[in-house]
């Protein structure tokens, strides 16, 4: 059902945890099934220096959160805003179709955090 990459990121998620002094956080929950991601950002000169996440959800939700953090670390926030849930799913060698709509919420969580950063909300 799941690709090797999904299973890898699910078993050993990267950048999981909280951040002591983030520049911004963002939380996004799927209204569909309740899966929820919380993203912590450290931004310097418009570049994502550090990123952490916490996710409640199935393996697809956790793996896509982990993959997203790997993809955007070092990106400018403008570049990070271009990231889509589909790009995250693609980087994981795909997700089962029934998982796309509810569990792939990592980019949404990231965009929420960036939006809060721009609005000066910690």
């Amino acid at each position: 059902m799941y690709s090797e990459k999904v299973l890898d990121h699910f078993s050993n998620p990267r950048n999981v945890g909280e951040m002591a002094d983030p520049d911004a956080t963002g939380e996004f929950g799927s209204s569909h099934c309740g899966d929820t991601i919380k993203v912590f950002l450290k931004v310097e000169d418009g570049v994502i220096q550090d990123i952490k996440f916490k996710t409640f959800g199935c393996a697809a939700a956790i793996a896509s959160s982990s993959m997203m953090t790997e993809m955007v670390r070092g990106m400018t926030i403008e570049e990070a805003l271009q990231l889509t849930n589909e790009m995250v799913a693609e980087a994981l060698d795909g997700l089962p179709p029934e998982k796309m709509h509810c569990s792939c919420l990592a980019a949404d969580g990231l965009h929420k955090a960036i939006s809060n950063y721009r609005d000066g909300i910690r």
């Binding site: 299973l7 945890g17 569909h32 099934c33 309740g34 996440f53 916490k54 996710t55 409640f56 393996a59």
Partner: protein, 397 residues
């Protein structure tokens, strides 16, 4: 890796003695039991032998057993067949909110055809209010459909009391006994049941065979028209090998009814007590003293059930989850929803269903693997803080 199978409410392995008994009916005794010649004559006594064995398990008469292809077919036949046969008498069915989808979806289908259906609620422990059931009966009620045991929580319904109520009001009573038959004593006379469905693959027979018990004097319209098989109650060439296997499985289950459930209960309770003592903030779903011996359904606050299942699967442990974001609903099973489990907590449910082959070592292994698996997922959950208000509130509700 050591493999542990704790999903026996989903299906079971075919028992070796069942397989052995079935094998001749694929090759040398391949005949169609409806044929008059020597080949048919090899198969038909085997069907009747199986019918006696199934009937004995549930204290029915042979002629009251109709072989089907699965539990869902039995459920469909009982509901649709009754509505069709009794349409001149009424059009109201009483069932519960926690039935298997084979019953619930059939009821919804019948509603579109103009049948009225009452879905009785359950309380937080998953139990029915019998007074409410009795009050729901009207002069138009033609059928009460209540499962013997719930497939997700294992909660046993008071079938004997419901049977008495149904008899008192002269309403036909159907019970889906797919999870109960062969696991707890099931007696259609004692319980005054009129219709009962059973599925082979839950008790060591192969998939693709089941029965509907139809008490004498309760005519049903058939679902499948065609040949004269099963006294015209279910057309279609008999699944001879499957039926033979079901007969053997029923005989073995009846022989073991004094021993296996007791042993399985001890193991299930050890698993439950171990989890309760090792993992904080969990909830056992379903009335504790009123469950199938083999079923344990729990919520682990702060995490999602499917993620935990996958983690267990990676350790060789097969269990199942009532929650599934693939289901398209809110991620919580309709059973836990009906039991008013907090929606966030409801998504963390996992069901362990033991079998006759489950060992003490299996339970030890689960108790070794489960706590760190839960902790790892809790560590990455935004909802988890030990002793936090969220989970405390969830659990107290």
């Amino acid at each position: 890796m050591r493999r542990i199978y704790l999903d026996n409410n989903a299906t079971t392995a075919v028992r070796p003695e069942v397989l052995e008994g079935m094998l001749p009916f694929f090759t040398e005794a391949f005949g169609n039991p409806s044929s008059l010649h020597w080949a048919g004559r090899q198969a038909s006594p085997a069907i009747e032998q199986a019918r006696r064995e199934v009937a004995a398990l549930i204290n029915a008469k042979e002629e009251e057993i109709v072989f089907t292809s699965c539990g869902s077919e039995g459920d469909n036949l009982a509901l649709k067949g009754t509505v069709e046969a009794l349409q001149s008498r009424g059009n109201h069915i009483i069932t519960t909110a926690v039935e298997h989808p084979a019953v619930l979806d059939t009821c919804r289908f019948l509603e579109k055809k103009g049948v009225e259906v009452t879905y009785l609620p359950v309380d937080r422990e998953g139990l029915l209010d019998l007074d409410r059931l009795e009050r729901a009966i009207t002069s138009r009620t033609i059928l009460i459909s209540v499962m013997w045991a719930n497939n997700e929580t294992g909660v046993l319904f008071p079938i004997r009391e419901i049977g008495a109520l149904a008899r008192k009001h002269q309403v036909r009573f159907f019970t889906d006994a797919v999870q109960a038959a062969g696991r707890v004593p099931v007696d259609v006379e004692e319980a005054q049941v009129d219709l009962l469905s059973l599925s082979g693959h839950k008790i060591g027979a192969p998939k693709g065979v089941g029965i509907l018990y139809i008490r004498k004097g309760n005519p049903l319209a058939p679902l499948i028209h065609g040949g004269h098989q099963e006294r015209r109650r279910r057309a279609g060439t008999h699944n001879v090998a499957g039926i033979v296997g079901l007969g053997i499985a029923c005989r073995k289950a009846a022989e073991e009814l004094e021993t296996v459930p007791t042993r399985v209960t001890v193991l299930r309770d050890r698993l439950q007590n171990g989890i309760v003592s090792l993992i904080p903030e969990i909830k056992v779903n379903g009335a504790l003293g009123l469950r199938l011996p083999n079923t344990l359904n729990l919520c682990f606050a702060g995490i999602e059930g499917e993620a935990l299942l996958l983690r267990l699967d990676m350790e060789g442990i097969a269990a199942s989850s009532g929650s599934a974001c693939t289901s398209g609903s809110l991620g919580m099973s309709h059973v836990l929803e009906a039991m008013q489990v907090n929606p966030l907590l409801g998504q963390s449910s996992v069901r362990f269903s033991l079998g006759r082959n489950t060992t003490s070592e299996d339970i030890d292994r689960v108790l070794e693997v489960l706590p760190p698996s839960v902790q790892k997922l809790r560590d990455m959950s935004p909802f988890w803080k030990a002793g936090s208000r969220c989970c405390a509130v969830c659990l107290s509700q």
